[in-house]
Symmetry: C2
Subunit: 598 residues, 2 copies
């Protein structure tokens, strides 16, 4: 029949809640930025096994990582253009590698978002506790407090949280760049740094060692995909803004990584227990005065805030997965403030579990982190190769080669990391990824079955009216009962009032019947006597005898004027509705009699 279209007045609150380029960089890239604090150290730790000769390869290895970073950045720039609805590795795999591969990518992304929260929080707190050792006994509580804080900020809406994070990001990036510049200018370390320990059983520099250093250092690349996954969170023009943010991220990250690697070689820095490589670099470049503390403190803050990247990304990914029937639909449900409450909640709970299980120890969590990242990277690179081969724009062969090369690098990194870290928790990821894929396939099949039952996608037969009865439970003769019966009579031709009595309430039953007969409404009254003082069951049993196609039970309740008057409600309606819902097929209609309105 007729279709009426009504449009509410346009409100740009939606756009106001979205991200600018700088805001997106702050909200979604903190993870990648913060990895400067542990990436170079991860390389140095491996190379130090081969002593000074090994450490001499810091810059070449970092250069390889920076090259990979460049490849990834350019690749994700293309991904953003090709998939403006977000999705990153998931979206690319879904379009070019098939459903199963896309679920693997989704699973790896989910695992990484969760691990990123746990790792960032743990690393931030670890940096804090190494600066202030007296806080060490409270590590896990500090971790959970930081997590609670980030969750609270994110439940208020992502744009607000982006604004919160811009200043710390600017301070952190500025501080790292000053360290790099000051260090490169300076001829000698500004303050004494620890001397290398006496070398014993030095390994020689081989290809495996370099690969391991490369793989370990790739921890610095986690998070570069976050922007591509969250394109819909940007302001219009969404794709353009997201692309600019992605390029800015790649450039900044490369400069910081290479600069720190150069300083490591220049000042012959080597891993020392209890002092991070970044803090040694800072000491060498700026001394141990105020500048040192500024860098340290902004690092602590940024690592803590890096957890926020996941809160920007995972709920959006989960919504997309829910839209595709791969996750429960509640993940697509937005609360009032444009927030995906269920996604945020899932992230908080799972990362809290990881933090508690690992006792807030970063080193237990980091190895797990890289595996999922590389799986996602590899899938999206391979997907992009397919993309180029399918669409064949100008220069597609070169682009495809670049992506193929990236895929090869990340795939080998994935294999190396999984093999070397399997016993140290890598098995958990190897178990979790297929499990998540199985869960998503179960969810998908269940929705398929439900959709089949609901005949989704087919045109159903037209709706036809049929015989119906409206049953109204009554227990007093009052205005509430009158209004309920009036509503019921307005609905259907057949209305039935039902009164449940108990044998030890004979006098009140007599009073009721007397009042009813005196009132004499034109409605049939059914009296049900229950020996067991039950409320809902007698009605449920009575309804089984009703033969009509549609049975409506109209429950009238008093709605108090003020919230504190709710204590006065008798809960009969709720008890009745619960029993009917569980044990009958009736449509339950609840009518609220507002005391204030009358």
């Amino acid at each position: 029949m007729s279709i009426t279209l009504s449009r509410s007045a346009p409100v740009d609150r939606t756009e106001r809640h979205r991200l600018s380029v700088v805001g997106g960089l702050a909200a979604l890239s903190l993870d990648a930025m913060a990895s400067v604090a542990y990436g170079p150290e991860a390389i140095v730790i491996v190379l130090a096994v081969a002593g000074g000769a090994g450490l001499g390869f810091t810059v070449p290895v970092t250069l390889a990582i920076a090259l990979l970073l460049g490849v990834l950045t350019l690749s994700y720039r293309q991904v953003i253009a090709a998939f403006p609805d977000g999705g990153g590795a998931y979206g690319v795999s879904r379009a070019y590698l098939g459903r199963r591969a896309s679920l693997v990518a989704a699973a790896s992304l989910i695992v990484d978002y969760v691990l990123n929260v746990a790792v960032s929080v743990a690393a931030g707190v670890a940096a804090l506790t190494s600066a202030f050792p007296e806080l060490l006994p409270y590590t896990i509580w500090l971790c959970l407090a930081v997590l609670a804080l980030v969750t609270a900020v994110n439940l208020r809406g992502i744009a607000e949280s982006a604004r919160v994070f811009i200043a710390p990001t600017v301070v952190y990036v500025g501080a790292i760049l000053i360290v790099v510049v000051a260090g490169l200018i300076r001829a000698e370390p500004a303050a004494a740094i620890a001397a290398p320990a006496q070398a014993q059983h030095l390994q020689t520099v081989g290809i495996l060692l370099l690969l391991k250093a490369f793989a370990n250092g790739c921890a610095a690349l986690t998070g570069v995909e976050a922007i591509a996954n969250a394109v819909p969170s940007f302001r219009k023009p969404r794709a353009r803004r997201a692309q600019r943010a992605e390029i800015a991220l790649g450039a900044l990250l490369a400069v910081m990584l290479l600069g720190i690697a150069a300083l490591i070689e220049k000042f012959s820095i080597h891993p020392v227990d209890g002092v991070t490589v970044l803090s040694q670099v800072t000491t060498a470049a700026l001394g141990d005065g105020l500048g040192f503390y500024v860098v340290q403190f902004s690092t602590v803050l940024l690592l803590a805030l890096a957890a926020n990247t996941s809160f920007g990304g995972l709920p959006v990914l989960a919504q997309l997965l829910a839209k595709h029937n791969n996750l429960p639909h509640v993940f697509a449900l937005r609360a009032e403030r444009q927030v995906f409450r269920y996604g945020v909640g899932f992230l908080t709970i799972t990362s809290a579990i990881l933090l508690i299980v690992s006792d807030g120890d970063m080193n237990t969590l980091v190895p797990l982190f890289a595996i999922g990242v590389f799986v996602g990277f590899t899938l999206s690179q391979f997907g992009m190769v397919r993309h180029w081969r399918k669409h064949r724009p100008d220069g597609w062969a070169g682009k495809a080669a670049l992506n193929g090369f990236g895929a090869l690098l990340t795939a080998s990194a994935a294999i190396v990391v999984t093999a070397t870290k399997f016993g140290e928790g890598g098995w958990l990821i190897v178990v979790t990824l297929p499990l998540l894929v199985l869960i998503m396939e179960w969810v998908n099949r269940s929705y398929d079955r439900i959709g089949h039952r609901l005949e989704l996608g087919r045109t159903p037969t037209p709706p036809r009216p049929s015989r119906s009865v409206v049953v109204v439970p009554v227990h007093t003769v009052s205005r509430l009962t009158r209004d309920a019966l009036a509503a019921a009579l307005s609905l259907g031709d057949r209305v039935e009032a039902v009164h449940v009595t108990h044998p030890d309430e004979e006098s009140s039953t007599r009073d009721f019947v007397e009042a009813w007969e005196k009132w004499h409404p034109e409605v049939r009254l059914v009296q049900l006597c229950d020996e067991r003082r039950r409320l809902g069951e007698p009605l449920v049993e009575h309804l089984t005898s009703v033969r009509d196609q549609h049975v409506f039970v109209l429950i009238a309740e008093v709605e108090p004027e003020r919230w504190w008057q709710r204590v006065l409600q008798n809960q009969r309606g709720a008890v009745l509705a619960r029993a009917l819902r569980r044990r009958s097929g009736a449509v339950i209609c609840r009518m609220r009699f507002r005391l204030g309105d009358h």
Copy 2:
């Protein structure tokens, strides 16, 4: 119109859940029985201030208390006959002393039921921790564990709990009687008992001291009213069984109290820190072997179980108060197992608070206990005097004199206890009683006002049908939508389908409209476009424009086959219903599409 009466098959489960004489004694009188453990000690503590001369008055004071007990027992026997619906002090005051007095009585009973739980649990745990001092640091946790246990038993239904308590009661009463008999036969203490401390600053025995001893000892009388309050919990013939239980309680209690008092004088027992008077009596009568431990352990158990008396009494009283509109109606709501869940919950929470605040210390709580008891006793005695004067049966003058004498005794006891214990917590009761009365009066007035609005007690105008519209929110074209529209069409003449869209979902909106037009149901479709992605509010706003008297919103939802499939539900129905309930006057009809049925 016609009235149909349907009666479900009689089930005697209700009677099976009720109490026999012995069961009632066990379930409702443990409080009174258990007070043997602290009543005599309360007398001795006061008299010991006057040294040996004071302690010589133990038997006379106990005799006075036993006489009062006799008066109370006979009085409550009459109360049971006069008030077979239960209520005790509350019922009597309500009938003969007016509403305000009855609320004071009810408040005092509520306070006592709560205090009885706290005192019994604390005293039981105190007895346990003095036997096993290593448990002392866990006092409060032991208290809460016992409370949780008793609550759990009571949530299963009172008859079951009565059966649980019969054996411990028999063992305890038997053990006390054996102590009394053995002690009276024996010429010398069976084992050494502590010698009296050197007397200093002895007071002389005066009337005030004796009154104080009497008042303190009256703690032994707490609980004798519990049976009268819970007559409806007995099996038929309820009043006869309750009367027999009351008399049995009075007789047993008197014998135990007098026997122990006689032994206290015989063996010159005096209060000693850390050793209860009852355990000294037991040592003197049975020695310090197995018998001693049996008595001690059954005392511990019984004190803990005495808390159960309140769980038998308070929920029944609360139901009665709710029926009379003095408490929220939920207190009259029985759960499946014939249990008043809200009354049980109230009792558990308030007594847990008392235990936590007092740190599980019995001595902080006991003084508060007696005040409320005596207020209730006094009111019910005075009420009975009025009862006799009104009905004037044979020998009414003697009965009225007995009740009047009892009232005088309990009233003076109330005044003495309040005066002597005001600073030690008595003020709390002096504040709480009027506060409870005020709350109950507020509840009563609120229900009066609600009843007035609902025109309770007046015959309302007959219900008349008026114009109505059934609004069906739709978001797919499917069998669910078809069934919802068919149900709506069966109901009313005017049916309206409403589809809420968001501007960034243009393609899915287009698909929906296409499918709808292809389907072409004979129903008007209203499209609401909301820029802010809200679910419920656009519909609420739309409904404000509907001019019909009755607006029904029919929400169709998929009900999963199995409970774990609930994770797949999208919660749209719940979100919609909440928004409509809060912000519109529409009748909310929720229709469940059961996947299993189709």
